[in-house]
Symmetry: C2
Subunit: 470 residues, 2 copies
Amino acid sequence: MTDGSEWIARREASSLARLKQFLAIPSVSTRSEHRDDVARCAAWLAAELRRMGFKAECHLTPGHPIMVAEWRGAPAGAPSVLLYGHYDVQPPEPLELWDSPPFVATERADRIYARGAADDKGQLWIHLMALGAWLEARGSLPVNVVLLIEGEEEVGSPSLPGFLAAHQARLTCDHVVISDSVMFAPGIPSILSSMRGIAYFELTARSAPTDLHSGQYGGVVGNAAGGLARALASLQHADGRVAVVGFYDDVRDVPPERRGRLASLPFDERRFASEVGVGLLVGEDGFAPLERLWYRPSCDVNGIWGGYTGEGSKTVIPGTAQAKVSFRLVPDQTSVGVERQLREHLAALSIPGVTFDLRQLHGAPPWSAPLDSAGVEAARRALATAFEHEAIITGAGGTIPIVSELERHFGNRMLLIGFGLPGENAHGPNEWISLDNIRRGARAMFSLYEELGSSTSGALAGRAKHSPGR
Amino acid sequence: MTDGSEWIARREASSLARLKQFLAIPSVSTRSEHRDDVARCAAWLAAELRRMGFKAECHLTPGHPIMVAEWRGAPAGAPSVLLYGHYDVQPPEPLELWDSPPFVATERADRIYARGAADDKGQLWIHLMALGAWLEARGSLPVNVVLLIEGEEEVGSPSLPGFLAAHQARLTCDHVVISDSVMFAPGIPSILSSMRGIAYFELTARSAPTDLHSGQYGGVVGNAAGGLARALASLQHADGRVAVVGFYDDVRDVPPERRGRLASLPFDERRFASEVGVGLLVGEDGFAPLERLWYRPSCDVNGIWGGYTGEGSKTVIPGTAQAKVSFRLVPDQTSVGVERQLREHLAALSIPGVTFDLRQLHGAPPWSAPLDSAGVEAARRALATAFEHEAIITGAGGTIPIVSELERHFGNRMLLIGFGLPGENAHGPNEWISLDNIRRGARAMFSLYEELGSSTSGALAGRAKHSPGR
């Protein structure tokens, strides 16, 4: 086996030049004035893939195009890989904080700086470099490959579910590979194998049809803002542990194979706290920080407002106050179950003169992949070779909605291999990707495709095949 | 003794016509575009008082003019009365909710509708009608009278304290009469003899220098909004009783002569709740509603904000959250004392990862007048005759800052006799004053001046003279 390093190196200059063209297109999906740029970016990418030998099309949607490129020339019985990514980017503002223009990819200190460098154009490009090296070196790929690259990831992928449903047969695959996440630390290749779900609510407290004067009514009427504070305070114990009855009933114990690995990760709690700008880490007693972040549910007030919020003093009793409050979920919690528990909790509260109204704004299930699938094993080997460091298993504290959506269609066969790094400024000014990660990443993906191709379709997916999406 | 009814009736048409001119001037003190109107209103009022025989001047201030008019022709030894009022008004918006234009005084159903009809031009006018009747009927007044009519009451009277200090000698008086409040109910003349003070704070909770992603950090960092909710919830028991240690130490028991009177007042709790639009009245156990409103301290969250407050969901952990929270105070509480207790309370809270910063935005002492002063006795008699109903003693749940300010300069010799009525819409659309209250009020004030004049300076002020302002 070769990791393609020679071929990757030979093509590097021209490939990075084309990546810079890709990064130069301001494909900002949230902004209507960039609509043509987004479409142009999809077309540019399709042309690039056609040039490489793929059959590529841009599918129109009510929003931005979905680019699908296929290469199906692998030997009979070879597995197929669906590579998901996105070519749209976040807005670059505030522009004045960028050290080089966001749409002029600039190399500094072994990094490429540009909007989209890490999220996700640069990470997607790593795969194109690996695939291009294969095609130049061997004239073919060891697996059938479908690239599904959307232009609406930064706006919540509204067109994707319908597209997946309409093209399920054509997109069906043995492995789904996504590179849109970060490595745990520089030099430590990481396979992301779980993420927390979410149940996100808007809670409205009402005490009167209008704000009332606190002099005229203070002491005889309920206070929506005070009642809301009381309700929110009742949701958690002082250490952050959720106080809603039944909340932990469906929480699976952290599997020992995950919990055990945590202790060996290079995690400096004090340094982490200092980088975040907090004095110390806090949270549920009895669990280490990474355990709390990845494998334990949490609750946060995300926003709160009511009454007078301007300068100085105004003596009102707010008639209405609202909060956004959300719960991060882990297997086997569900957003529906948490909503039911929360409703029961609120109904049992007795706050004189205040009533509550609860509305779930958003829910997403937690996700967790088996660690012993053949796909994970292949990725471990490929990454360890290219990075000269054992790959580690990480979790995500947040939700990556597309993962659940893909799982729902294709079953639990996702390989999430990120090449971004902490501090990459994915949505901020001076976004960057490490050139070393690009080089090693391309070699790792070159090997991964070879590893996956060395088996027949269905064999490698392992037991993931038998645990279809929830 | 006469109540001047004949003279008041004879002058009524022309006097109301001039009141309508007064109400036609849009003396909106908060709006710079009305600056000239405010000045014109002061000049108009001074001219009116000169026409009546007063010596009147408009004193310029950094804000709006203070109009002072004096009549000092009373017999030697006659007491002097300072009449405080204000000629400025609240903005009339929203205009579309008015049934007649706010600056065109309109009579409907025995009321005059206009901005300022109740607050305070119309109530001030009652005194001008009484004084005008005296001067026409007798050619003189039974007391020396100084009118101190400011144009900044609706913006917090910023120029008044300096003016009082600069003109203290000239303004010194035996009685201060203010008509800028409401009667308890139609037909029930009321003497306002206490008001609650206030300690108003801004409380800031901080957990991180910036908002953090709740997926990336939920479970390991503090939450400013959640911590703030916890802190606010800790301030009160479920029934509203304040849970801050020491808060009730300085609270005087409600004097029996006040508490006893409450039971006899026509107060329908259910109707009150229904008029406010709340299902029921709530509050501290063991005290009747009016007692809680007038004579017991209270605590209210006046505003709260932090994190994401827009539409939909955004998964942030607010790094900062803030609340406005205030306490209504009764004798002998002080805003300084409450601030100290609140600081101790916050320091004793232990909310992991959240720190608090407290700032007092505003403080005002509670105020309470003796009920047995000769001034109160005179007012009782005058009101009872004119309204054919015994005058009652009321309290104000809110703060009237000018009362404490006047007390500070002249001692506790205030007579607060309001002729407004509940529902008068003082700061809202369709503000009105009852024409019956204007007529009876003018007769009552005619009698009051006579009663006050029938004694010599110093005699009637009674024991109030010996309890100067705090």
